[in-house]
């Protein structure tokens, strides 16, 4: 019994490593189609519509709410030290450095990543990808690559839109409701945030998260079992794995970028 459980640990480890290897091959395949095949702008635009435009509402709504909460919490804490004037710096720094890219990554994972995995998984289950192969069309080229590219492209834009709406949400609560001076809010925000350390790091994070979510979602869908349970499993594991890797990578990017 004890030997069996140790065996299971070994099998899981080996399974994890070979999964990683399969994923690397898959990423290589996607990159290869990107370089060698004729680009498909129509498909990419359609996917950007699905990923970006349709996520806009929840990204803006969440951004406003997060900014409002930050404004309220920051104000309540700062006002004890008589430093309510630096509310803009608190809101801006936490948004640009962490909350903007991370929360956008999580939202887009839930909103678009899961849909991506489910769509490709259903195509696998209904043998549509095999049909494409029969017609000598590479399904990675037609289906997967446009989705991954759209994710990488849309994520930084969505992250910046999130950050800007959240700054506005903080402004609404801090300045309009609680009476912090509007000029002070914006000046402290602008002097605290600088381009090289904060904004560029924020864009880099969003870009990496876009690559992560795009790859994980398409890979999970592409390798899902061709059953109803397989599709649901692919969708769930997309959300779980993508969310966890966003949080883990966030730490490493922060540490390496020296923020």
């Amino acid at each position: 019994m004890r030997v069996r459980s140790i065996e299971a640990i070994g099998a899981r480890t080996l399974g994890f490593v070979s999964e990683l290897g399969r994923m690397a091959f898959f990423a290589g395949h996607v990159a290869l189609t990107l370089v060698t095949r004729r680009p498909r702008p129509g498909r990419v635009v359609q996917e950007i519509y699905d990923v970006g435009v349709l996520s806009l509402l929840i990204v803006c709504g969440s951004g406003l709410a997060v900014g409002a909460v930050l404004g309220l919490q920051g104000y309540n804490t700062l006002v004890r030290f008589g430093a309510a004037e630096s509310l803009g710096a608190v809101v801006g720094l936490s948004l640009v450095r962490e909350l903007g890219p991370v929360l956008t990554g999580l939202l887009v994972t839930g909103r678009a990543g899961s849909a991506m995995a489910a769509e490709i998984g259903t195509m696998v289950a209904t043998e549509q990808l095999d049909g494409l192969r029969m017609m000598a069309i590479d399904p990675v080229d037609l289906v997967v690559t446009p989705k991954a590219v759209a994710m990488v492209f849309a994520m930084p834009l969505l992250s910046c839109i999130f950050t800007v709406t959240a700054i506005f949400g903080g402004y609404l609560v801090g300045v309009v409701l609680l009476g912090v001076d509007g000029g002070n809010y914006l000046t402290s925000l602008e002097s605290a945030v600088d381009f090289e350390n904060d904004v560029a790091g924020s864009l880099l994070k969003a870009l990496v998260f876009g690559v992560l979510v795009g790859l994980i979602a398409t890979f999970r869908g592409y390798t899902s079992k061709p059953t109803a349970a397989g599709v649901s499993q692919a969708t769930t594991s997309t959300v779980v794995v993508a969310s966890v890797s966003i949080l883990v990578f966030d730490y490493f990017i922060t540490a390496l970028w020296g923020m």
């Binding site: 129509g42 498909r43 635009v45 359609q46 950007i48 519509y49 970006g52 435009v53 806009l56 801006g92 640009v96 849309a154 930084p156 834009l157 969505l158 910046c160 839109i161 950050t163 800007v164 700054i167 925000l189 602008e190 002097s191 945030v193 600088d194 381009f195 904060d198 904004v199 560029a200 924020s202 864009l203």
Partner: protein, 159 residues
């Protein structure tokens, strides 16, 4: 998938809004628009720079005119601060560079006080008169230990 002009337009709009947000964050919030005046460098050495950091502002009468480019240690083990400032400025050779603190606990910056000489500093010149940073700690310790010894008035020094 039939091409749809409305969808293309909406996607284009999304991209424009996104790029607008990127631009707002980069230029307005990130302050990328501040193109540091290039080329005019001055050197100042200090005995103590406190918490002065690279990219800290350089001001004259409170107006920002440049930034700290590099901080190194010179051969006499004093801090050698390279300032990058607006080349249009005419600073006389007896100008003073002082490290000041914004507020009691704020960030440190370099304040230039113009002198009265007719001769002007050239790029690469060294500022002769400097005033080191006044740390809160050193102030307190001076207050505690030096009350009787007639206080030196904080590290003003001539080089």
């Amino acid at each position: 998938m039939t091409p749809s002009p409305i969808r293309d337009f909406v996607v284009g709009l999304f991209v424009l809004v996104g790029l607008g947000a990127v631009a707002y964050l980069s230029f307005q919030v990130g302050g990328l628009s501040y193109k540091g005046p290039v080329g005019f460098h001055l050197v100042a050495t200090f005995g103590e720079i406190g918490g002065l950091k690279v990219r800290a502002p350089v001001v004259i009468s409170g107006v920002r005119v440049g930034q700290v480019e590099r901080i190194t240690l010179d051969s006499n083990l004093r801090a050698r601060v390279l300032l990058d400032i607006d080349p249009k400025l005419k600073l006389s050779v007896d100008s003073t560079a002082a490290i000041r603190t914004a507020g009691l606990l704020g960030d440190q910056f370099v304040a230039l006080v113009p002198g009265a000489e007719e001769e002007y500093l050239k790029s690469g010149d060294q500022i002769a008169y400097t005033e080191s940073a006044l740390g809160l700690e050193s102030l307190v310790s001076k207050l505690v230990t030096g009350l009787g010894s007639g206080g030196s008035g904080g590290g003003e020094e001539k080089k």
